[in-house]
Symmetry: D2
Subunit: 337 residues, 4 copies
């Protein structure tokens, strides 16, 4: 039985608490938040749990085996660092840290203390993303041409990070998981529409070694919610719409066939192929439930998490470069190998 | 009665012919195409029309008052230039020309000959775009924050222009019409996935004097067709979905209210406003029918077309700069005033 | 070359004329309508065609081989009967006649005169319906459990027939084509919401020899347009949505598995099966184009039309019985074998 | 503080428990279910709660003020009757009882014991249904022409009631709430596709004193989930789609205008009106949360619940008549005043 303490009971924290509470191999023993009203809400539901406004008290609590951090990004490093030092296993909400230097240090700390460090890249644990990875790995899509995502809604403004750090992090973690290659450079543009606030709309283009191109489109100030990713390959194309109630992943047997000859100026050089569309059955386990189980299992077996510190670091490096490019209106930033 | 000759009876030509045929003030007297089979198809439907594979014959036909050019972009300048020289009024499909130098010369030519030069920016004549312009002009949206468009499908590859010249031209012409300001610079990225062919996927960011930002997303190689534009302002937001059968324009009473105080690190600085959504009734006249009537009227009255040579030129300048930026992976290109 | 005369140039007539005009094996030589303005419109597009307000003149025109009737239902019998007597082949828009007695007489007349009698059940000629018939015939769906259709919109009120005769006729013709069995009885309900006008909303339940049940839902007074049919079988289920731009037919590997045992009062007796969904590629030929070609071919070869007088008669019989049941608020009407 | 005991922790029970647990004025003190594994799940989440497989123990527990019954319909009467006799307030999931006789007795019992009897007609407490009632009451829709609902999915088969008792009960309770009039008769059809099981697909038509007509379409064996209701009036029409994430209620300014004259056989008698569509902002409180608060309030103040025993009885009467009509293939059943 892994005893869990959760820091942060705002938007995402209650979901983490619920899933650890529902999992038989874990038990939520403590919750910390700066806001007393939130702690009262937590105790209304979970009568036995200890609550505190002092995260340090939770971190040093010897009855706690694992610390889950669901606080603003700027606090991730300090809290995770302290918890690792206290010998706790740590699960951090995304993104792992505010910069790559911090991510490096957490990775070292967790290695030195021999404790699990995992980042909550939730989408990796969905049936949809697991199915897409399977399609890509099996060669069903052929050579990947592009990864193109739109992730927009009327979302919460965050004052300590821009929209890239809040939303694009999801797409970057999905790409990190399903593609076998890493981006080499990034060009990003964006804008803030609220004075003294970080950018609320942004567009990222990622270049790779070959003709693969990725584009991410994130926006906190959209009238409608869209969560749609297109992944196009030489053989098949995928549309992944996370808002579809059941058919989240659709595989289209569509593409182009290059035609050899060109008869006249009016003729098209490229022919089209259009076949069936298949929406495969997906695993419907709640992603957070699967993720929580995976974290518990990594603690118990010493297994490396699917979303370990290294994957958290790779994503943070891209977030840093994209933010830098955005400041320079799209100027290309190289990503260090 | 304006007697019309149409050059090009491929994809778009038949639509132009049909609309001129249905309009009582005009009559299609001649059709030219390099392909005999297409001409045979034209004569099957329009028994009285003259057909020829020689565009010069049509241009110099003295019974023709106006020449409509529906051929690949690379041929626009020569054909339009000849027609103007012969004293014909000219309607050219988009984009007006292959470069801004050619557009300048056509504008001069039409002024010198006192003939109408109009470009077929079809969307300007839709009920949806007219309604959006009205909303923007009336201040219903407030200050415009962004214009964000996705225009993708499994479209025809063109071998003489990239996807920006084929698809982004639509969005640029709509923006040119509804916004009262011109972009100052552009950053574009894109990729070709077919050897020796122009880019089939591209992303454009346009910067303006203020915090307005525009982003265009165009793709010939998408498994699904999307035609969606978001226009967000300080007061209201618009979603324009051209594939919606009836509610193409939706006005959302949504936005942000900046909140003065910040109580704690967990508090959000910005509040949200979410109210009713209104889908206004739209004029359902076929856009091409309205455009054809407008062309005829400009010929008869000497009125300047809504989509005149100057608007065609403004769009071509942006297309040139975007193509240049795309070659340099997003490097910012300034647009000359 | 079959020379065609078309009676009725209102809503549907122009579509028929266009398709006969586009077909190389036929030629539209005459058009008749009571309204002079409509005839002027026809001549604006088709400069060579003869026009008349006198349908008798068209029917007795010796240069006409085939008469196409696109007028209100109440006029179908007289016009078709005259045309057959004059030795013309006849294509009648749906439904074939106002009652089954008239349908019987047209069938006899066409047999006696050895002329083609065909009814314009357009949907039979769509790629979607052809694909569904194929799925049913191949046993892909298993035993058919139900056919359930919703066909509603803000449609034109007709003053000579109720909504069943206008809209349900489509579904009845599709069922007649794809199912291998005929309904045995019908229960219908409906209502008129405009004084002295026929019913504008109606619901039909059709019973068959086995546990197959069909339900049709038709409405002229709906705020939105819906064209959706569910066909459920023991193996797979089909959703046919005619308004979907591309995936009109979706095949769901879903169903029930009867479970043998019942452990307690809370246990469910029936298990669920949920697998992939497939949207097969469909033939995209315009239905009316395929239908017109089929009519021409039947004239030329003596082949029996897919939608012959007999299929027209079967549908009219159901329409009569449903109207009778509706008058009696759902009282079951038996359909004569 | 109202102390609540919940009987039945299967599909719906956990939702009721969660909402009573989240409400500050109530506390869940006991849960009963026949299945030990379910009780273990309950205790994993709610550590302090008493659990038992014996519902009688819960009902006679003197620390329990109110009993919530979330068991199969056939058990509702006995459990509710016992609980009322023990002086408990009672909330019963829908439908109230298996027949109207039982409903009458529960109403009498609750009156005699002066205890609250409420039925869980959840939809009444949604922002969407409250908004529709407001629109109808304010005369925004004009005279109501029809209420037309489709409620289908691949749902759980129930072995003790047919699909009408499981699904149509929702629509009947919504109609009971928003319309100011009661149906006078019902015609229903349906079918069972699993041997010895109740009907899994059914269609109900309800007649009223005037030309109002209602139609309900319910199905446990559908490949897709649909929850759509159309309510049409002489002034405006409403589409209520419960699966829409945000715009669940759309008000269409559409309808018909009766035109006085009829010029010819081809002219339509009725004209169409098509204006704006408005999707009003809705209260987003979770319905069950609002319902639970209402139940607590009725206990504390003696107020009559919105969904009291009488409304439960009215719905059960229609369910009985519809089931009877369905046995007779649509034969009209009169509903006693």
């Amino acid at each position: 039985m892994i005893r869990v303490g959760v820091i942060g009971y705002g938007y995402w924290g209650p979901n983490l608490v619920r899933n650890f509470a529902l999992t038989r191999e874990s038990q939520v023993v403590a919750i910390s938040d700066l806001d007393q009203a939130r702690l009262a809400n937590a105790q209304q539901l979970y009568t036995g749990v200890k609550v505190t406004t002092d995260s340090h008290e939770l971190i040093t609590d010897t009855t706690v085996d694992a610390v889950v951090i669901a606080t603003p990004v700027s606090t991730h490093f300090d809290l995770a660092n302290q918890a690792l030092q206290e010998g706790k296993h740590v699960l951090v909400t995304k993104p792992l840290t505010s910069n790559s230097e911090q991510a490096h240090r957490l990775i070292e700390q967790s290695a030195g203390k021999n404790r699990v460090l995992m980042v909550d890249h939730t989408f990796i644990y969905t049936g949809a993303v697991k199915k897409i990875k399977e399609l890509v790995q099996n060669g069903k899509l052929g050579d990947i041409f592009y990864y193109d995502s739109v992730r927009i809604n009327l979302g919460l403004f965050q004052h300590d990070v821009n929209v890239i750090w809040d939303l694009a992090v999801h797409d970057l973690s999905i790409m990190d998981y399903i593609l076998s290659t890493q981006p080499r450079s990034v060009s990003a543009t964006g804008m803030s529409h609220v004075q003294d606030q970080p950018e609320n709309i942004a567009f990222l283009t990622l270049f790779f070694d070959n003709s693969l191109i990725a584009h991410l489109h994130v926006n906190w100030l959209a009238p409608v919610k869209i969560r749609r990713t297109l992944i196009s390959g030489s053989k098949n194309m995928v549309v992944y719409d996370d808002l579809e109630p059941s058919e989240k992943v659709k595989v289209y047997d569509r593409g182009i066939d290059v035609v050899a000859d060109q008869k006249s100026i009016y003729e098209m050089l490229v022919g089209y192929r259009s076949g069936d569309m298949l929406a495969p059955q997906l695993d419907r386990t709640e992603a957070l439930r699967a993720e929580v189980s995976h974290f518990i299992q990594c603690i118990e077996t010493g297994e490396t998490p699917l979303t370990d510190g290294e994957s958290g670091l790779r994503i943070v490096k891209i977030l840093e470069a994209a933010t830098q490019s955005m400041k320079n209106q799209g100027k290309l930033e190289t990503l260090a190998g």
